[in-house]
């Protein structure tokens, strides 16, 4: 099994969202987010699916995440029927603060199945708190998903590299 790069976007100046397009086969896809820094302090990174490169904003996003924190034990981040995936917890943008993580996408290309994802990331929050987010999410609609859109919940993306790979057998 090998990794085949499908798409990559490198943000170097204020950008409101990033589209990663290319889940065109029934393989598993891996997305690497490296060095996400928001322009607004404490901005979460969110994601939505793209169908034929068109954004889906319906309330079909379920997620169950655990935030492992250095200031307290942990916190559950779980929601059903949201209109987006929330992947982080208030990422900071002061010196050294950013988020890095990996997402695996399953069944995206299959129009007869829900799209599943697992995700893990590490971040420094706006209070320089180290947080590890680990979890999973499901887009509860039988549809053909051809990519993901990443965007912050406030402000824009200041920098970061978003790369999608296909796990080819």
């Amino acid at each position: 099994m090998g990794l085949v790069q499908v798409a990559t976007n490198t943000v170097t100046s204020s950008t409101a969202y990033v589209d990663l397009i290319g889940t065109t086969t029934d393989d598993v896809y891996m997305i690497v987010v490296n060095g996400y820094i928001p322009t607004s302090d404490a901005a979460d990174l969110r994601a939505r699916v793209l169908e034929s490169s068109t954004l889906n904003t319906t309330a079909n996003y379920d997620r169950a995440f655990l935030s492992i924190r250095t200031d307290t034990t942990y916190s559950n981040q779980a929601n059903t029927n949201e209109t987006y995936y929330d992947l982080t917890t208030a990422v900071g943008n002061s010196t050294g603060e950013q988020m890095n993580g990996i997402i695996y996408l399953y069944n995206a290309n299959d129009s007869n199945q829900y799209t599943y994802l697992t995700a893990e990331n590490v971040q420094l929050s706006h209070t320089a708190l180290t947080i590890g987010n680990q979890g999973a999410a499901v887009f509860t609609s039988n549809s053909q998903v051809n990519g993901l859109r990443f965007y912050p919940n406030s402000g824009t993306i200041a920098s970061g590299t978003f790369t999608m790979y296909k796990l080819s057998s």
Binding site: T8, N9, V11, S14, V18, T57, D71, T73, T83
Partner: protein, 100 residues
């Protein structure tokens, strides 16, 4: 407390003030389309409403001491006849009030 319409108006203005906004699609940097701006306004308006109505939940979760800290407070309250734990909980609730 602001109505949803008032918050949406604020969101609309914030997006207008933030123009131009850009997106990156397969590494090509493009200015937002009208549809992108419309969606950004909806999202920001919804976020403002959600934060106003439910933001206190997350804020309280982050402000409460850990289970270990709270158990320690309760132990020493029992020993000393103090109200440290109850005061802590009340303070967190007071600092992060539930919308009326």
């Amino acid at each position: 407390m602001a109505t949803q319409e008032e918050l949406q108006a604020l969101a609309d203005q914030e997006i207008e003030d933030a123009k131009p906004l850009y997106k990156l699609v397969n590494n090509e940097r493009l200015e937002f389309t009208d549809a992108d701006y419309a969606q950004a306004k909806i999202d920001l308006g919804n976020d403002k409403w959600y934060d106003q109505q439910f933001g206190y939940i997350q804020a309280r979760q982050e402000a409460y001491g850990s289970v270990q800290e709270q158990l320690d407070m309760q132990y020493w309250d029992g020993v000393n006849g103090t109200t440290t734990w109850a005061d802590h909980i009340a303070q967190v609730k007071s600092d992060n009030p539930k919308p009326a």
